[in-house]
């Protein structure tokens, strides 16, 4: 579609972007406010950042959240990739409809339902086999893997259908064993999707409040649980400071992911152009 953008569309786009970004920009600006009352300006200051860095509670929540996010992202990427391969490459198999349904449902399932059901599951499991005796790191991580692997699977499926199967077939026809095909062709082809899938699972885990609140135990506070317990009572300048740091970190991660994807797309395009030139 190369038709021109009408004035109406340009106005809507501008308003939309303003709507998206003004609240975030204000959030960042007020983090540098000296005043204890967030919307009352009391001059520029780094006071709340200092307070934030001195809070042991914040540090332990950050550390727990990061650990969960890394373990979750790694397992979710592995499981999501296998699931994506099964859905795209294996045609029809027994239980495919159920499998596909369970892969898509977590994308839209209300978090309160997922959280509640996992909590009663862990409690029943504890009665049955004595594990998990304590809820915390392990239960939150398992819960996160379960919903983030669905997002990874979607990313992998899109990439697999995008690159097609020709190279894999060619390698197999030339005598490569299945394992060789996997390591020499499939995984390199999937790399950009693996990276963006890992990052997606990582941020989903860092972001989750509701499911973690259900399946956590006493003492195990993730960062969103800590933030939520503070902002429930109203505006807090130290949370503005925390938000600014988180936005910065995520912006850097997303920028890296975008560059990787962009490069891969360009490389794919060049490959295709070369191939077309050789054909003609």
């Amino acid at each position: 579609m190369y038709a021109k953008r009408s004035r109406f569309l340009t106005i809507m786009l501008t308003l939309g972007l303003a709507f998206f970004y003004i609240p975030m920009i204000l959030l960042v600006i007020y983090s540098f406010n000296y005043s204890k009352l967030v919307p009352v300006w009391g001059g520029w200051s780094l006071r709340w950042y200092k307070e934030l860095f001195q809070s042991a509670e914040v540090w332990s929540a950050v550390s727990l959240s990061l650990q969960i996010a890394v373990v979750n992202a790694t397992f979710a990427t592995a499981l999501g990739t296998l699931a994506g391969l099964a859905m795209v490459r294996f045609g029809r198999f027994k239980g495919r409809t159920l499998f596909g349904g369970m892969l898509v449902a977590p994308l839209v399932m209300p978090e309160v339902i997922t959280g509640l059901s996992l909590l009663v599951f862990f409690i029943s499991l504890n009665q049955l086999i004595g594990w998990p005796a304590e809820r915390g790191f392990a239960t939150i991580t398992i819960a996160h893997i379960t919903f983030s692997m669905a997002y990874v699977a979607v990313t992998i499926q899109a990439r697999l259908t995008g690159v097609g199967q020709t190279l894999e077939e060619a390698a197999a026809d030339l005598g490569a064993k299945p394992f060789k095909v996997l390591t020499a062709i499939t995984i390199p082809q999937l790399t950009p999707a693996l990276i963006s899938g890992w990052l997606l699972a990582f941020t989903l885990s860092l972001d989750d409040l509701v499911i973690a609140s259900f399946v956590t135990g006493p003492g195990a506070n993730t960062l969103p649980i800590l933030i939520f317990s503070r902002i429930r009572l109203g505006l807090r300048p130290d949370i503005n400071a925390l938000a600014t740091i988180m936005i910065l970190v995520i912006a850097i991660c997303v920028a890296i992911a975008a560059i990787v994807m962009f490069r891969q797309q360009r490389a794919d395009l060049l490959d295709r152009q070369m191939a077309e030139r050789e054909e003609s």
Binding site: A3, K4, R5, F8, L9, L13, G16, L17, F20, P23, M24, L26, L27, L37, V38, P39, L85, A86, M87, V88, F93, F99, G101, M102, L103, V104, V108, P110, E111, V112, L116, S117, L118, V120, F121, Q127, I145, T146, A153, A158, T161, G162, D173, K177, P178, L206, L209, V210, F214, I227, I231, G234, I239, N240, A243, M246, I247, I250, A251, V254
Partner: protein
């Protein structure tokens, strides 16, 4: 060109192949089984099984025990098994107007927010599709970026804007438009803002993916034949973007119906939504059987939209 390659005869020597191919296929099958079984088992255990436990608890009675509900299956003396199913929890939800009204209110809020997301998201997605090759990826990036930042903090950012002493009220008072702050935080209005703000990317992205595939020559042909732009929009563009509209609307509607954080932070105690009631029922009252029944009813309401979404998602991945 594709037809040509498909019609090509297989260029490989045929004689040696059957045996090695069979061998390969056997290894491949084993490998395939492992690849499928591991994630399948994970989802069966940690996604599907928990729902059955919730269903089981919803049919039990509250008991002073840990966990606080009765067992459905009881063994009496000589190994006779009796199963007791209690539907009281569902009757209670149906008869208590608090629950009924909350379900209706949740649906009202999620349907209205979905419509608002579509109303504003559609032109935004269309504007991105019609942007130049340089602006397009940047704009798309600008839409995706808030989607990656913390949901909780995006909701929090509106608390600062909407509060009685918040940015909007301060600005309006400074400009002399109002004398008294308008109450916006802890109202239904704030909940609408919060849902539209946080769920908008879920509407824009499927719409964009769908519109990107449209063929502009159809619009040109319609224009050449004398169709006015509005007529072309309703006769051609809108019907062709229906899959995107359905996918985007369901991605907003289904999770928004069960939303907990937004009604809690922006609605305070004034806006009742079922996700919030469920959470409170569970954590404060610890009436597990009723909470489980509330969850099951919510799931029953959402099962049809979820299946429609799966259908569209499946079709979309096959088309790619």
């Amino acid at each position: 060109m594709t037809d040509f390659t498909e019609d090509m005869p297989e260029p490989l020597p045929v004689k040696q192949l059957p045996i090695s191919r069979q061998f390969m296929r056997r290894i491949q099958n084993r490998w395939r089984q492992i690849v499928t079984v591991v994630p399948f088992l994970w989802l069966l255990v940690f996604f599907l099984a928990p729902f059955f436990i919730v269903a089981k608890i919803s049919l039990a009675e509250l008991a002073i025990a840990s966990p606080p509900f009765t067992s459905l299956i009881e063994w009496t003396g000589d190994g006779i098994m009796t199963i007791r199913l209690v539907f009281d929890n569902f009757v209670y939800i149906w008869e208590d107007s608090l629950y009924f009204d909350t379900y209706v209110n949740s649906l009202k809020i999620s349907v209205t927010s979905t419509f608002l997301c579509l109303l504003f998201g559609y032109p935004i997605a269309y504007a991105i599709v019609r942007s130049g090759p340089v602006a397009k990826p940047l704009l798309l990036f600008a839409i995706i970026l808030p989607f990656w930042t913390s949901f909780l903090l995006r909701v929090y950012s509106w608390m600062g804007l909407l509060a009685d002493q918040g940015t909007i009220n301060n600005l309006l008072i400074a400009l002399g438009i109002i004398d008294e702050p308008i109450r916006m935080l802890y109202t239904e209005f704030a909940v609408y803002i919060g849902i539209v703000y946080t769920y908008m990317p879920f509407m824009i992205l499927p719409l964009y993916a769908n519109m990107e595939k449209l063929d502009n020559s159809l619009n040109e042909a319609a224009a050449d034949l004398g169709s006015r732009p509005t007529n072309t929009f309703f006769k051609i563009t809108l019907p062709l973007t229906m899959p995107g509209i359905v996918a985007g609307s369901l991605l907003v509607f289904i999770p928004a119906t069960g939303e907990y954080v937004i009604p809690d932070l922006l609605g305070g105690g004034n806006v009742q939504m079922i996700g919030r009631v469920l959470y409170n029922e569970f954590s404060r009252n610890s009436d597990w059987p009723v909470a489980a029944a509330v969850a099951i009813v919510l799931l029953i309401i959402l099962v049809l939209p979820i299946m429609v979404f799966q259908h569209y998602q499946g079709k979309a991945s096959e088309e790619q």
